[in-house]
């Protein structure tokens, strides 16, 4: 799969052409006095599978047909083209907007009825997902963004909306990662980093930035304030694929941390159709490992007992095909057996810069990671 090559050629015009094509099909069917329709890939669990070869979660080929002349489908049909039309307007005018804003832009009362095009943002969000998967365009290519979180520092120069950004001179706050990082907005200029370190928590990122970890170890240091948002995931994908950098993920030792790692690596079940251009199967899990407490001699009182939700989540994760390797099974079983979890901050019990000076260098230099 030449995901990259395909990637390079993406262009806003292509998205416009696809949107127009979908509309033209409808017009054509109408002229033929037929019932206009649109074919939408099914986004349910039944149509999601794990591609072992590529090591990503993928959407299958199942389609559902949405008709215009169908009492149950007419409104959704209308909504689909209303959203498509608004996205085309956005792309044509070179503007981007939030999915909440798009909801307000497309919400109106239909004719003389009391019926609104949308009553709730949940409805328009679902239609956006339908549209993304139907015309095979990421939300960002429809000029839509989600809330942006996450920041980056490191020896990387880039251009963001025409401004040159030197990510090694961004002070304590770093470059705030925008939610849309597509090529027409963000271009990499030069990079001296040898790897990427993705940290779950901004507080730990800040510690590492203050200690200038990224300078000493020549890396790009990035966080996503919890679950990596789309902008961060897409940026990681581009950094790994375009700059050929290894990616290390550093998360809490709990089922949520493992999940954050797995979404970065394999993609998520809910958004399986995005994996091809968001997932980074080469990502490595650096920590925290359930074995770290003993290896690094952390005191007992920094552990937190797994609650019922943690336990059932861990038992779920242990069944996932992408956690089937012997090492991962050992890792997850150990956590369940110990019955405790560890936060990244637990390393501070060994001193404020233990994470910078000891833990991370040991993990990276001695390749102590999980795949």
């Amino acid at each position: 799969m030449q995901v990259n090559k395909k990637e390079e050629r993406r262009d806003p015009k292509i998205t416009t052409i696809k949107l127009k094509k979908a509309a033209e099909n409808v017009v054509e069917e109408a002229h033929k006095h037929k019932n206009p329709y649109i074919d939408i890939p099914v986004r349910s669990l039944s149509n999601v599978h794990f591609n072992e070869q590529q090591s990503i979660i993928e959407l299958g080929k199942e389609l559902q047909r949405r008709y215009f002349f169908n009492v149950a489908q007419a409104k959704k049909f209308l909504q689909t083209f209303l959203i498509a039309s608004a996205c085309k307007t956005l792309i044509d005018s070179g503007k981007t907007t939030s999915i909440r804003d798009l909801y307000y832009m497309t919400k109106h009362t239909i004719g003389d009825s009391n019926e609104n095009t949308f009553d709730d943002q949940m409805d328009s969000d679902l239609i956006i997902e339908d549209l993304e998967v139907t015309i095979d365009a990421l939300r960002e290519e429809l000029n839509l963004f989600a809330s942006n979180r996450g920041a980056l520092v490191g020896p990387l120069k880039l251009i963001d909306s025409g401004d040159k950004i030197d990510c090694s001179k961004m002070g304590s706050g770093g470059w705030s990662v925008p939610s849309i990082v597509e090529k027409n907005l963000v271009e990499f200029e030069s990079c001296e980093a040898k790897f990427i370190l993705m940290v779950e928590k901004d507080a730990v990122w800040r510690r590492l930035n203050e200690d200038k970890f990224w300078k000493k170890h020549k890396c790009i240091l990035i966080h996503g304030q919890g679950m990596a948002p789309r902008g961060v995931r897409r940026l990681l994908f581009r950094l790994v694929n375009e700059l050929k950098l290894p990616l290390y993920v550093f998360v809490d030792n709990d089922p949520w941390g493992f999940y954050i790692y797995s979404v970065i690596k394999q993609g998520s079940i809910n958004l399986a159709y995005e994996s091809q251009r968001m997932a980074v199967p080469s990502a490595k899990f650096l920590g925290l490992s359930s074995f770290d407490k003993d290896i690094y001699k952390l005191p007992d009182n920094v552990t937190i007992k797994l609650n019922e939700q943690d336990k059932s989540r861990a038992k779920q994760i242990i069944q996932y095909p992408w956690f089937k390797s012997k090492e991962w099974q050992k890792e997850l079983s150990h956590m369940l057996k110990q019955g405790v979890k560890l936060e990244l901050e637990a390393l501070s019990a060994k001193g404020i810069s233990f994470v910078t000076d000891t833990y991370l260098p040991d993990k990276i230099n001695n390749k102590k990671w999980l795949d």
Copy 2:
């Protein structure tokens, strides 16, 4: 009150001296064979009042004495000095950390007992607040930070941890506002802005940034991703007081939006002791006003019904001394009477750049704000 002048002279050394002084008092009392104690200002509602003259929420003069030889107080006494000692270590080493990290740094089992110094971060957070108010130092001066949120763009050059940052060349993401923006970390170099526009939502901030609103109107454009976090509040305070800029606040038309505005302007009841160095009494409320729907002819279907929580919150807010002016009473009553709220995104029903091209220029140029 020469808040500013006092401000200028703040220095990390002063905080160290205060921390040492508190400890020396204890040692002195012990040498005198007396029961060591520390006097802590009371942070309950009974000791909070609205200073009409300065127009900020303030802490009163009530004190509580915390003793060492007192079964009920001994542990808290220990915790207070444990936190104080850890903060002194931080300041001495020039490092900052998160309040979660400080919890882990100071958590340990006491001697041979089964008793931990802290069992929950909630305990250490309360002690941090005790310490802040006792030695009259902001948490940031103890080198502690909360989660950082918020971003800034505009014609402002500053120095952040030694790096020169030109906030007019920060692309689409902007300068990510750090959680500590004290003088030793963030210095203003030059500024050509004529005012500050603080926006509640990052999506609207992004719209305004993309439309280069800040360039056309020469302003600093900042958001706090919801409730303004401490870093953003403290930065607003410094921008207003050091650069003498007017501050306009732009929030949703709902009780939560009004509350965000009031915290920026008068401070909050919970953190009343910070108002002197966080609150900006000169801040103006630009919108959304409950009257905007009619004035700007927004369609009916962009309004959202007030729920019970909104209503009771609005009825609470209408009683606050700082909302007592005739204009605010009219504003709040109108919202309650109409029974609906409006989000900033509702303006997009009039077109994607209506907020940039029409709404904000009209509000600012014609001084259509509330005080």
